[in-house]
């Protein structure tokens, strides 16, 4: 290996690491606030990338229909609950949020998609279609299980992953997609040639991380999420609704996932089931951070990215083996550091 290749691999590793860092961030956030180990995080990456790819082909992506269907189901459930509890005044909002909004978005997509609008319009549209799936997912799968144990929530998360992967196959087919790069520019920095897309990914990640930092530090919603993460009961006592916190968290997680997908789509071919492995690499990073520390998780993410790119050079067939075996020494290290008193489990 010479320096050129090493630099190229490092660049690759950093680019992927930036994506894993974003996902690790989302995973830590979701776990801290809702105790859900969010295995389907990766599906949002795939949905984001493939929705954009569909739009670029001038097709209406299947996620538009998923949005409408999920909206109908939620409207039915919430509408039924509102009527049963004799609170019909809630109905207009339920219908507006879960029926009118998704239908309007799907209609917009149906009208816009064949015209192949500018790239930024497509990106905005893809985000608008995928991000609302986050809170809807929370409403359908996790909100009824708010008080369940971490393990039950984990099994639900895995079940949701199954369902979303299957739906991805229905919507996008078995073929992978790669979107055109946002920028074809290349910069020569000394011996290294840096692709514009890599800069986009790393830059995008940094901007998103800063935005999240500001959100958590400066806004009331961000602070209430942090409060919920620190002490769920305490947060409820001061009037922070666990449901609102959950929806907000899942919105953020979906947004982070979809943006990651859109950023990474020009670099790697994304298949309907690619999200799982990408998300799990985020997990490896998050576990390095003990599922609680954001900075450690980010460091872990870069580590995973670098390990992946270098091992794909030396032993490409064993790339996944190496990355996922990395978790074992990490777990060992964690287990030596943690003095836990296990949570009591109810039956």
């Amino acid at each position: 290996m010479n320096l050129d290749i090493a630099l190229l691999l490092a660049q690759d590793g950093l680019t992927n690491g930036a994506i894993y860092a974003l996902l690790a961030l989302a995973l830590v956030l979701v776990f801290a606030v809702t105790r859900v180990i969010f295995v389907p995080q990766g599906e949002f990456v795939a949905y984001g990338a493939l929705t954009l790819a569909s739009l670029q082909l001038g097709k209406v992506p299947g996620t538009a229909w998923l949005l409408v269907c999920a909206g109908i189901v939620i409207a039915l459930i919430d509408g039924f609950i509102a009527l049963r509890e004799r609170k019909p005044h809630r109905l207009p909002r339920i219908l507006l949020e879960n029926l009118a909004f998704p239908v309007a978005l799907a209609g917009l997509t149906w009208w816009l998609a064949p015209q192949k609008p500018a790239l930024w319009v497509q990106v905005a549209l893809a985000l608008a279609l995928v991000v609302p799936l986050g809170p809807m997912l929370y409403r359908l799968a996790f909100q009824p299980l708010q008080s369940a144990s971490v393990l039950v929530l984990l099994i639900v998360a895995v079940a949701v992953h199954f369902a979303l992967t299957g739906l991805g196959l229905v919507f996008f087919g078995a073929e992978g997609s790669r979107t055109p790069a946002f920028s074809d520019a290349r910069f020569d920095v000394g011996a290294m040639s840096v692709s514009g897309q890599s800069l986009f990914v790393i830059g995008g990640s940094v901007v998103l991380i800063i935005a999240l930092y500001l959100f958590f530090e400066k806004t009331v919603y961000g602070k209430s999420l942090r409060a919920t993460a620190v002490n769920r009961l305490g947060a409820r006592l001061v009037g922070i609704s666990a449901t609102l916190a959950g929806r907000l968290t899942f919105t953020l997680a979906a947004a982070i996932g979809a943006v990651s997908g859109i950023l990474v789509a020009p670099i790697t071919t994304i298949y309907y089931d690619s999200g799982f492995l990408v998300g799990l690499k985020g997990f490896v990073a998050a576990i390095i951070g003990g599922m609680v520390s954001y900075p450690l998780a980010a460091v872990g993410a870069v580590l995973v990215g670098l390990l992946e790119s270098f091992s794909s050079f030396w032993a490409s067939a064993f790339k996944e083996v190496i990355v996922f075996t990395l978790i074992i020494p990490v777990l060992l290290w964690r287990s030596l550091r943690t003095h836990h008193l296990e949570e009591e489990e109810d039956e």
Partner: protein, 587 residues
């Protein structure tokens, strides 16, 4: 014969006669259900009972399948030998993975299992000598004593005999001394450890046992299909195994078979029908499976087994014999001999000093009360004596031996047994089984003897002992009730019976009278006096002053972690420092 036995006999008969009547398709399906059941049975033990979730069982199936495929194809080894080589390989891998990951709390373990599940899958697919993604063909069939199991119909009997054997081994195991310890793992381990259970060791044992069942399933799979490739050992299949257990009902041994059957049939049916609906080929059944599972967990977290159980009235699971050979008792200390001594015992949590250089001693046959306002550090002191928490400083001696560096399960061995301020019982286990956990250290037979039920004589003595202690504390009419159905006061009494089962010479009771009615308190006072008469020493934390003053020989009063007074009940009642601590001084 009870109704459940008749139903079970009918089930066995149907199972045995099935292949004679069923078309090939259903025999194949039943073979697969049997293979799935073996893996799911391991998961019931591991996840449903032990509380350790694994998504990686498919990888263990793969180890068993690849071990036999490679050795029989490439080296011509006999399949009956490779079965055990597969066990050795899988057992070693499970032991290593378990040693690393089982120490982790709750959610790290399942994440870890996903990771190594993926890792092993890619390893199978990328190792040249295992045939890569295309796999290996030409795996030989099986024959038993020259009788070739060359059709699915013949193979069926091997599969289902093994499944039934696995069901019985797990049922036997759960209904035994080590089984009770396994069933108490979920409670967090503090209780189990304080009665001498090596919880870390037990976790590894059930993890390895589940892995071996998976390996057996893999071995059967390889010789049934005569072909292996990586696909059936992927993480998705590992997830499906867990789904089976959840669908069936993770707590129920037969739930594994029910869940495996339902999932296999459902998958088969969906794979037939869904591509027609969608109009293209693909694994669409995952959508329905995923949604069904979410609904199931939202609506019926116990799985479907409770619905089936209505048809199978449960016969009583344990029987505590009226008479059995008595267990040997440990030698009692001479009355008046010093039994327990705390020397400047200290516990700090960060900056908070919970127990501040507390010293006291106890003589054998004494009832010593440890009292003080809430937050004085009394329960912390209990946890220091019993090794639940490590000391920050000082020493604790028991019968002349220093015990403050020993773990709980070594301390109980020396004759100290305790109850808990917040009761630690297993609510779904019967009262007598809960109490029998206390006698854990008085039996020796291990997991293998238990799975084969070769330890019934010992088991009878343990259950008889539990019954005897329940008679002693007056709970014998609740022998077979679910412990969770008792009133809180009775649960506390249950804990005393459990502690007595450990044959202690020193009993540590943390607020035993809380939640008791007047008559029950009188009965408890009588019981403790009788125990004292038999030479038992009792250290007692209690807030009910009438109860305490009536009962104890001496008192030690704590406040803010410090000893503020000690003496006879009469002296303590008039001690100004004590009055100030309890009632507040005049400022």
């Amino acid at each position: 014969m009870s109704r459940s036995r008749i139903l079970f006999a009918a089930f066995l008969a149907a199972l045995a006669l099935g292949p004679a009547f069923l078309p090939e398709f259903y025999v194949t399906l039943l073979n697969y259900i049997g293979l799935y059941s073996l893996v799911a049975l391991g998961l019931v033990l591991l996840t449903g009972v032990g509380g350790l979730t694994s998504f990686g069982q498919a990888a263990f199936v793969g180890l068993g399948a690849y071990a036999t495929a490679y050795l029989t194809v490439a080296h011509g080894v006999s399949p009956w030998l490779t079965l055990f080589i597969g066990f050795a390989l899988t057992g070693t891998v499970a032991l290593l993975l378990g040693a690393i990951t089982l120490r982790l709390s709750g959610h790290y373990l399942p994440l870890g299992t996903i990771a190594w599940g993926i890792s092993l899958y890619y390893l199978f697919g990328n190792l040249e000598f295992l045939g890569g993604q295309t796999g290996m063909t030409g795996v030989p069939g099986l024959s038993i004593f020259g009788f070739a199991l060359d059709t699915g119909r013949k193979y069926y009997y091997l599969v289902w005999v093994l499944v039934i054997a696995a069901v019985f081994s797990i049922q036997n195991l759960l209904n035994s001394r080590p089984g009770r310890a396994i069933r108490s793992l979920r409670g967090g381990g503090v209780m189990a450890e304080s009665f001498g259970v090596d919880t870390a060791g037990l976790k590894i044992i059930i993890f390895v046992y589940a892995a071996l069942l998976a390996s057996l399933s893999g071995w059967l799979y390889a010789h049934l299909l005569r072909f292996v490739n990586p696909t059936p050992f992927s993480i998705n299949i590992g997830i499906e195994y867990l789904f089976m257990v959840v669908i069936g009902g993770a707590r129920f041994v037969w739930g594994a078979v029910v869940g495996a059957g339902l999932l296999a049939v459902l998958k088969e049916w969906l794979q037939g029908i869904l591509p027609k609906i969608v109009g293209q080929a693909g694994e669409f059944e995952t959508i329905v499976l995923g949604i069904l599972l979410v609904l199931l967990l939202q609506r019926a977290r116990e799985g479907l087994m409770p619905f089936f159980q209505r048809w199978f009235p449960q016969s009583r699971w344990v029987e505590a014999p009226q008479s059995a050979p008595a267990l040997p008792q440990r030698e009692r200390p001479r009355p008046g001999e010093q039994i327990l001594e705390a020397r400047a015992a200290r516990k700090q949590f960060g900056g908070l000093v919970a127990v501040n250089d507390l010293s006291f001693e106890m003589a054998s046959g004494e009832i010593l009360g440890l009292i003080g306002p809430n937050g004085a550090g009394k329960s912390t002191m209990f946890n220091l004596i019993t090794g639940v928490l490590p000391l920050s400083g000082g020493e604790i001696h028991f019968r002349g031996e220093r015990i403050d560096r020993l773990p709980s399960r070594q301390i109980v061995r020396r004759g100290i047994a305790r109850t808990f301020q917040h009761v630690h019982i297993r609510p779904t286990m019967s009262v007598v089984e809960n109490v029998a956990i206390g006698a854990h250290l008085r039996g020796q037979r291990g997991v293998v003897a238990a799975a084969l039920h070769r330890e019934r004589a010992e088991e009878a003595t343990l259950l008889h002992e539990a019954r005897k202690q329940l008679e002693r504390v007056g709970l014998v009419e609740h022998l077979y009730d679910q412990a969770g159905s008792l009133a809180l006061g009775q649960q506390r009494i249950l804990e005393i019976a459990r502690a007595l089962c450990a044959d202690p010479v020193l009993l540590l009771l943390d607020e035993p009278a809380a939640g008791l009615r007047y008559r029950e308190k009188e009965a408890l006072t009588d019981l403790l006096r009788r125990l004292k008469g038999e030479g038992m020493s009792v250290l007692l934390v209690e807030h009910d002053m009438d109860f305490v003053m009536n009962l104890v020989d001496r008192l030690v009063v704590m406040d803010f972690g410090e000893r503020i007074a000690a003496g006879l009940p009469r002296e303590i009642q008039t001690n100004p420092m004590v009055l100030e601590a309890y009632l507040g001084g005049v400022e």
